[in-house]
Amino acid sequence: MDSYTIIGAVSVLGACLCMGIGSIGSALGEGQAAAAALTAMAQQPDEAGRIRSTMFVTLAMVETTALYALLIAFLTLYANPFWNYAVNQ
């Protein structure tokens, strides 16, 4: 196996693992946040609008962790510095 094959295979595997493992925590957190917001909305329907907007903001904040994983996955797939190094050699 030359370096191309190893770098390519490890990049794809790494990107898949990165997304898979990285999104678990964010998904659980988003689910809990949404569940809590739904409970609050059911208890206080008058405040539903405010709770909903706060929930959206919180969800977007929680989602950030998964997006970092996505960025790393993109980096390993499309802008891998080691790949360019291997090509230039």
């Binding site: 959206f56 903001v57 977007a60 904040m61 989602e63 950030t64 997006l67 970092y68 996505l70 960025l71 993109f74 980096l75 499309y78 802008a79």
Partner: protein, 246 residues
């Protein structure tokens, strides 16, 4: 130096790229002059700025306080009042001086994100250079507003709180919280564009539409979050008496 302009590239659909890559948006050069060039990100941000300026100019040209208020004036007034209230709530005191920067950021990002309903439009916010530039604005604004509020002593005091031992951590969090703002916006917009692109490669009809509608929602929420975080960070250092009011 020889320049050549090729504006037909603007009409390439984002998902028709041979390889969808991170640097693709910045590498499509509409005007190419060797080392210097205007890429599609810069061009699209100019479009967004021109659109905002045009709409604001058209509306404020015939501004009135009487009974005949145009519809667009009501829209803009609602926007300004809403952001003023947000600034008031965030900074805790009745201080509204932070809101103009946040409103500017919000207008730029929300226009750039919502214009993605045009199929050819590559949002400038899906490029890391744009979002990092926006984050740099906030990064520069934090010391400015903090020193203006609490003096240079009050600003530097923030770094040694609660104990001086945490100085490196405070500096790190100061830099990275702003850095994360840019990354968050970039990641959200890029994932929206790429997901719609990948989906339309499999199912060209209807299915990408749902994802793009979701992308419009995400885009507005991200613009709101960016403006809100800018408000929070710029108003984080306050005078002692201002703090007591909250």
């Amino acid at each position: 130096m020889e320049c050549r302009a090729d504006f037909s590239q603007w009409f390439d659909l984002p998902w028709q790229d041979k390889a969808i890559g991170l640097e693709n948006f910045d590498s499509i050069k509409l005007i190419d002059c060797g080392s210097f060039g205007i890429n599609v990100t810069i061009f699209n941000s100019w479009l967004v700025i021109a659109l905002i300026t045009l709409v604001s100019w058209l509306v404020t040209r015939r501004i009135s306080t009487g009974k005949n208020v145009s519809k667009m004036q009501i829209v803009l007034e609602t926007l300004v009042t809403w952001m003023q209230n947000e600034a008031k709530e965030t900074s805790g005191s009745g201080n509204r001086k932070y809101f103009s920067m946040a409103l500017g950021l919000f207008c730029f990002i929300v226009t750039a994100n919502l214009l993605t309903f045009i199929p050819w439009f590559r949002p400038p916010t899906a490029s890391l250079s744009t979002t990092m530039a926006l984050a740099l604005i906030v990064f520069m604004a934090i010391p400015y507003f903090s020193i203006k509020n609490a003096g240079i002593k009050g600003y530097l005091k923030k770094f040694i709180e609660p104990v001086p031992l945490l100085l490196p951590m405070n500096i790190f969090s100061e830099v990275f919280s702003v850095f994360a703002m840019g990354l968050r916006l970039f990641g959200n917009m890029l994932s929206g564009v790429m997901f719609a692109g990948i989906l339309s490669a499999f199912i060209p009809f209807i299915a990408p539409l749902t994802m793009q509608t979701l992308g419009l929602l995400t885009g507005s929420i991200q613009a709101y979050i960016f403006a809100l975080l800018a408000l929070v960070y710029t108003s984080s250092v306050k005078k002692e008496e201002e703090l007591s009011i909250t």
